[in-house]
Amino acid sequence: MSTTDDISLPELNELIILVRQIHGFDFSNYTKASLKRRVLRIMQLKKLAFWELKNVLTNDQLFFQQFLDEITVNVTEMFRDPSFYKALNTQVLPYLATFQHIKIWSAGCSSGEEPYSLSILMQEAGLKSKSFIYGTDINAEMLGQAKKGIYSLRNIKSYAENYKQAGLPGTLTDHFTIMYDAASVHNELKKNTLFSVHNLISDNVFNEFQMITCRNVFIYFDSELQDKILEVFYNSLCSFGFLCLGSKETIRSEYYKKRLKVVNSRENIYQKIG
């Protein structure tokens, strides 16, 4: 068995402490099972044994940025879970339409697929001109891609199926300019979008929103950290604003269950009450 094949739980904890002490990033409330897979993946990609990984993390400041970019999962899709976008269209947008401005925060947006999906949804609903979409992520490199709004044609083809299933008019490619093997999102969809770095664990409320989407981010956190971030979201929502979690993520905290009403239990859409 090669050295990169496995690490133990004590070794993982050792790494968490090292990263916290040297770089000030705290992964101690991350789900251990998936964090371990990410660390193993980095060791494989960079061809490092565990002791070598600790060594470069300690001595190479530039390596830490790469480590941070790889430790976070950046897998996303446009219109991931088409049924979610259908639910937004029928249950949430009519309500949002009554607000003067619609500010949306896509938290943990990675390379921007979700903010642009929301931008398309708002455009199709005729709400684009009064909406503003903020995409944030801990990973600056991914945000760079998000700002560009250029995706491989291969990805766009697989997203197009989601788009169709979401029941939206026309096809996904109507919203893109195709250039050889890439597709660039139309400029009008980029209007009223802003991408910036935000760390859910250490950063705080920065604006008031009518809707916050944070889908498939909570799965990487333990319940204590989830509650801490829920507090940030709750305090960032206007009265009767909406919070959307991933389709397999539910609010378990009794405190927030009382303050966030279930709008759609299958898609985990909540509305701030009281």
């Binding site: 739980l9 789900t31 251990k32 099972a33 998936s34 999962v73 897998v75 049924s83 799965i219």
Partner: protein, 205 residues
Amino acid sequence: MANNTTNQLIKRLQSAEILLLGGSAGSFMPIFNLVRSIPQNHSQPIVVVIHRGKNNFSDIENLFGDNCRILVKEISDKDKIAGGHVYIAPANYHTLFEKGKTFALDVSEHVWYSKPSIDVTFESAADAYGDKCAAILFSGANQDGARGLLKLRDKGGLTIIQDPKDAEMHVMPQAAVDINAGEFILTSEQILKFMCESFVITTQP
């Protein structure tokens, strides 16, 4: 199979804290028949990982739910793992195990073009349960599951492979046989028979 081997297999099936069933193309019927035969009050949690397309949820849950005596549940993140349940790995997520007997989901890269990946679930179970885990790998058209099954076997878990000759698609079980990941290689009929025998004894008062 010799009588004492059979008894040993059944005993180990019974003593496992958790049972994992994995498969892809051609695995639905053998897994379905097995889950259908589980008694209502069965104390061992059972986790099913079957490859499927990303947007077709609930079909497996409904089919299982309508035909089984045991509770069938599609896994949500941080669900507590309890006996009396068959848990189905959701489409477009990997299913992992977290300390304190809870599930943890993950949307990271596909493994063997699959999400859920059987390897990911088996490997994580090897970490969380070690030798207290039993796993069966059924029919399938790619090599997902073999590596995870081997890791489980290395950690002392009970590993069973559906005989590739008996499987509708032999690639998946054959990949596991090739790396010697299975302690037992059985037909789906034998698997069903031994499982049923293990159920009968576990559910006696």
